[in-house]
């Protein structure tokens, strides 16, 4: 489902990622870990083409990213659901509209947009806050809105960048439980995190990044 073959990324002669090679299978859930600045976020950005690699090849859901042209980029992004580290919610839209936006982009009919959005909000237990604005929500609630928006379009791959970054341990656990549930339903999930607590009791594969290189792989 996700293939990295000798991928490198440089910023002004600084190596951010060097010769990264790994495979994530369809329906797998895995973690990428490593200290801040190890290149975790960059690695995720390469997958949804917010950044482009300087070397190597990335394949997602059989799409060779290097051969995609500009009009095909939106199609790739629609097959991937991303939970951004800073949530990236639009403050002047309600929770409902923030989630629905991902479907409007796909030009789905209004009726379908409404029912799918309600369903996604139900999955993250936020239906009661559908009419609220992001700024009035707690960090954990905003995180769940971001997750609802990432899953509402039924992505084949879900990427999450530090999804428990600023959350208390209980809320973190809720979020991870939510991801496990989605994974059990068949979504391939890759989570970037430096939260050791999250990895302690996991049975999932963990890829460790250090100084831009893949240091080791651990099976949970």
């Amino acid at each position: 489902m996700i293939v990295f073959e000798n991928v490198s990324k440089f910023y002004d002669h600084n190596t951010v990622l060097k010769n990264i090679t790994f495979h994530i299978d369809k329906g797998e859930m895995a973690f990428i870990t490593g200290p801040s600045g190890a290149g975790k976020s960059t690695l995720l950005k390469l997958m949804y083409m917010a950044e482009l690699p300087d070397e190597g090849e990335i394949i997602i859901d059989n799409l060779h990213l290097s051969s995609l042209n500009m009009p095909q980029i939106p199609l790739l992004r629609r097959t991937i659901g991303v939970v951004f580290q800073d949530f990236k919610l639009i403050n002047n839209l309600t929770v409902f509209d923030n989630v629905a936006l991902a479907l409007h982009i796909r030009r789905l009919p209004e009726r379908e947009v409404r029912s799918l959005t309600s369903e996604a909000l139900k999955k993250v237990s936020l239906r009661h806050l559908a009419g609220s604005y992001p700024k009035s929500l707690s960090g954990g609630e905003q995180q769940r809105v971001a997750i609802a928006r990432a899953i509402v379009g039924g992505p084949v791959v879900l990427l999450a960048d530090e999804p428990t970054g600023n959350l208390d341990p209980n809320t973190s656990l809720d979020i991870i439980t939510l991801f496990r549930g989605l994974n059990e339903q068949g979504t391939t999930i890759l989570i970037a995190t430096h939260n050791r607590e999250l990895l302690r009791n996991t049975d999932k594969r963990t890829l460790k990044l250090e100084g831009g290189s893949l240091a080791r792989e651990e099976m949970g």
């Binding site: 009009p71 992004r77 639009i90 936006l101 796909r106 030009r107």
Partner: protein, 291 residues
């Protein structure tokens, strides 16, 4: 095609950023009103200048010795020319009567004349489209070659003046239209550019969620189009106020104003012109979207 979502987004943005949008609509409205007033004046000036060629005529003075048949033959040959609309013969007697009428107050000038000193002539009226300096001088040149014609008189300067006036009216119309259209494009450009910058963060999010450049662009184009449309409607209102003020109120004082014609077609076109200019302005403002 723009989805209902894009239209809703545009309307929401219009309401949210109402002050900047109202200002743009007012500016576009007054600009389009200026175009309308310019068209109004130039159209009426055009009507006057269009009638000028009808008054233009050429005089071919004939030799005194021509027989009736010879005169008729010359008239027939002139009539055949495609540029000629009307030919009339003025006998030397008729010419004298006309001269006497013209000199009514100075009739002493003609005292002591035993003989009629005038020559018969042919008056030519040209078709409107041939009253240009080059055509009139060519026709005069060719007429001079006809045996029996003594001299040709026509107002070269008048032909030139008519032509120049018509050309100027046309050029001024084009310049005014282009300048003000450019102004309208600039107004919508600036407004949409500001709105685009204010929504920069939102646009980045849309891109990451998989929006196409068309999806991102549509609400801004619709917003620019609506600004143009409302500006156009405002222009129509302004033009009606002007029309009633001038032809209704002022014509009571200056009756000549009653003859002014208002080109209604321009009013109907205003909202469409507004939309087109608004969309052009916003298209330039957004530019190329890199995903």
């Amino acid at each position: 095609m723009a989805s209902s979502y894009s239209v809703k987004s545009a309307l929401k943005s219009l309401a949210k950023e109402k002050w900047i949008n109202i200002l743009s609509i007012l500016t576009v409205g007054s600009s389009l009103l200026i175009i309308t007033l310019a068209v109004f004046f130039l159209y009426n000036l055009g009507l006057i200048t269009n009638h000028l060629p009808e008054r233009f005529s050429m005089m071919a003075y004939l030799k005194d010795s021509l027989s009736q048949e010879e005169t008729q033959a010359i008239m027939d040959s002139i009539k055949k020319r495609p540029e000629v609309a009307k030919v009339s013969y003025i006998s030397k007697e008729d010419a004298l009567v006309e001269l006497k009428q013209t000199l009514r107050d100075s009739s002493h000038l003609l005292e002591g004349l035993d003989e009629n000193p005038l020559t018969p002539s042919i008056e030519l009226k040209l078709r409107k489209e041939f009253v240009t300096p080059s055509t009139t001088s060519r026709i005069a040149e060719e007429l001079r070659k006809i045996p029996g014609i003594d001299t040709i008189y026509y107002g070269e300067r008048i032909a030139e003046a008519i032509h120049l006036l018509k050309q100027s009216v046309q050029n001024i119309s084009i310049i005014i239209f282009l300048t003000i259209s450019l102004g309208v494009v600039f107004v919508t450009y600036s407004t949409v550019k500001i709105l685009f910058y204010r929504k920069k963060e939102e646009i980045e999010i849309l891109k990451l969620l998989g929006a196409t450049s068309g999806f991102i662009r549509a609400p801004f184009l619709i917003e620019g189009g609506i600004i143009g449309l409302l500006g156009g409607i405002l222009g129509i209102v302004g033009a009606f106020v002007f029309y009633f003020a001038v032809t209704y109120r002022l014509s009571m004082v200056i009756p000549m104003l009653k003859t002014l014609v208002f080109p209604v077609g321009v009013l109907v076109a205003l909202p469409f012109i507004g939309i087109i200019l608004g969309v052009i302005g916003s298209t330039i403002a957004i530019g190329r979207i890199r995903l």
